[in-house]
C-alpha cells in the first residue's frame, strides 16, 4: 500500500472558522506593489471534506471580498478574477500533485499573468483543463 503523504497538521486541530471582520478592509499601503502571487493556501475542513484554498468556503460565505467587473462579467475575490457569480464553482475536491506538476501549474500561472496581464488561479486552470479534456487525452 503506498504511503499517504502527511497532511497539514492544522487540519486535525478542530479549529473554528475565522470570525467575521465586519467587512473591514485590510489597510494596505503603497507597498502593495510588492505583493507576489499567493502560494500558500488556507486550509480547513468543510462539510467533512479536506479542502484547500479560497474554495474552502462556499461563495456566499466569502466576506470582505471585493466584487468587481472583469471582461463585462461580475467576478468575486481579490485578484481572483476567475469565479463568475453566474456560474458558481461549488464542488470541493482535494487534489494531490507531484512536486513537478505543482511547479508546472505555478509556471502556467506566471506565464498566463505575463501574457494576459491578469492573474489566474490554480482552480481556474484546473477547471479549464477539465472543460477542454477528452477521453483521448488520458491515453
Amino acid at each position: 500500500m503506498p504511503k499517504q503523504p502527511p497532511v497539514n497538521p492544522l487540519l486535525g486541530q478542530n479549529i473554528p472558522p475565522a470570525p467575521g471582520l465586519n467587512n473591514e478592509k485590510p489597510a494596505s499601503g503603497e507597498n502593495d506593489r510588492t505583493a507576489t502571487e499567493e502560494k500558500s493556501k488556507t486550509v480547513s475542513e468543510y462539510n467533512g471534506k479536506m479542502v484547500s484554498g479560497d474554495s474552502a468556503k462556499p461563495l456566499s460565505e466569502h466576506k470582505g471580498k471585493d466584487v468587481s467587473r472583469y471582461n463585462g462579467k461580475t467576478v468575486l475575490g481579490d485578484n481572483d478574477s476567475d469565479v463568475e457569480l453566474g456560474e458558481k464553482a461549488t464542488i470541493e475536491l482535494s487534489l494531490y500533485l507531484r512536486p513537478s506538476q505543482d511547479d508546472k501549474l505555478e509556471d502556467l500561472r506566471r506565464a498566463y499573468k505575463r501574457r494576459v496581464g491578469k492573474k489566474i488561479s490554480a482552480n481556474e486552470i484546473m477547471r479549464r483543463l477539465i472543460e477542454h479534456a477528452s477521453l483521448d487525452d488520458l491515453f
Binding site: 503523504p5 502527511p6 497532511v7 497539514n8 497538521p9 492544522l10 486535525g12 486541530q13 478542530n14 479549529i15 473554528p16 472558522p17 475565522a18 470570525p19 471582520l21 473591514e24 478592509k25 485590510p26 489597510a27 494596505s28 499601503g29 503603497e30 507597498n31 502593495d32 510588492t34 505583493a35 507576489t36 502571487e37 499567493e38 502560494k39 500558500s40 493556501k41 488556507t42 486550509v43 480547513s44 479560497d54 474552502a56 468556503k57 470582505g64
Partner: protein, 255 residues
C-alpha cells in the same frame, strides 16, 4: 483586533520563529494576520518576504522615526491572509534618537490607530528593554513570552517583569502575560525540570503545547515557507499546529 506582542529579554528563545509560525497558522485557518517586525535583525521579514531591503522607506523604521502610519507601510506577503510591516536594520541606532522624542513610548500605539481589517496583529520584538520594545508593549493588548527550558531564559523573565512593572507605573495600565510558550525542548531531564519550574511559576499561562527542538522548523524559516506546508509530518509542525489551536481557543474562546 487584538494586538499580541511576542517578547522576551533573552535572545534565541524563538520569538521570531514562534511569531512567524503562529502567524502562518492563524492565516491558514482563514484569519487575517498582520506581522510587525520591530526587530532590527529583520528575521521575521526574511522569513515572510524571503529577503529584506536595506532601504528605510516602507519599513518599520519610518513608523518609528518619521511617525508614519502603520497602514502606509504594510506589505502583502506571498502567503494568503498574511501581511507584514517589514523590519529595518537601521533601527539598531534608533533608540538613541528616540530618547529625546516627545511621546516616545506611544509612537507605535498612535501609528496603529487607523489599521483595521485584521483578526490578529503580532509584533515581533528585539531582545532588549529599549524604547522600541517599550513601544511594542504599550501598543499591544497582550504579551506572549516564548521561553526555552533554560536557566538563562528564566532569569530573563525576571528582568522582563521588573521592566513591565516600571512601564506600568509610567503608563497606568497593566501588562499581563497572555501566554508562555515553551520552545526548543530537547527532551532531556534538565529540560523537563526547567519546564516544571516554568509551569510552577506561570501556572495556567503556559501553553500546553511544547515546541520541540526540530531542524525542520529552522529549515522552513530559512526557506521562507510555512512549516505546515514545508514539513507537515514533522514534530515541529504538529507542535506549532497544536499551539495555534490553543492560541485561538484562548484568544477567541470567550468571544
Amino acid at each position: 483586533m487584538p494586538i499580541y506582542c511576542l517578547t522576551s529579554i533573552k535572545g534565541g528563545v524563538t520569538k521570531t520563529t514562534t511569531t512567524v509560525n503562529i502567524a502562518h497558522g492563524l492565516a491558514q485557518t482563514g484569519r487575517r494576520v498582520l506581522v510587525i517586525d520591530a526587530d532590527h535583525q529583520c528575521n521575521a521579514t526574511l522569513a515572510l518576504l524571503g529577503g529584506a531591503q536595506e532601504a528605510k522607506a516602507g519599513t518599520f523604521y519610518e513608523v518609528m522615526m518619521d511617525r508614519r502610519p502603520v497602514s502606509e507601510v504594510i506589505q502583502r506577503t506571498k502567503f494568503e491572509n498574511l501581511d507584514i510591516v517589514p523590519g529595518s536594520m537601521w533601527l539598531s541606532n534608533a533608540n538613541t534618537t528616540l530618547a529625546s522624542a516627545f511621546g516616545r513610548e506611544t509612537i507605535l500605539q498612535k501609528a496603529l490607530e487607523n489599521v483595521s481589517g485584521y483578526h490578529y496583529i503580532l509584533i515581533d520584538t528585539p531582545p532588549n528593554t529599549e524604547l522600541i520594545t517599550v513601544n511594542c508593549w504599550v501598543a499591544s493588548d497582550h504579551l506572549v513570552v516564548p521561553l526555552t527550558p533554560s536557566w538563562f531564559a528564566m532569569f530573563g523573565i525576571r528582568i522582563l517583569e521588573i521592566q513591565l512593572a516600571d512601564i506600568q507605573k509610567q503608563t497606568g495600565r497593566t501588562y499581563s502575560i497572555f501566554g508562555v510558550v515553551i520552545a526548543l525542548d530537547d527532551h532531556t531531564s534538565k529540560s523537563q525540570t526547567r519546564m516544571e519550574q516554568i509551569r510552577e511559576y506561570f501556572g495556567a499561562k503556559v501553553f500546553t503545547s511544547v515546541i520541540p527542538k526540530n531542524v525542520k522548523v529552522e529549515m522552513a524559516t530559512d526557506e521562507a515557507e510555512a512549516i505546515y506546508n514545508y514539513a507537515p509530518g514533522s514534530t515541529g509542525a504538529n507542535a506549532y499546529a497544536q499551539l495555534v489551536s490553543e492560541f485561538i481557543q484562548r484568544s477567541e474562546g470567550g468571544a
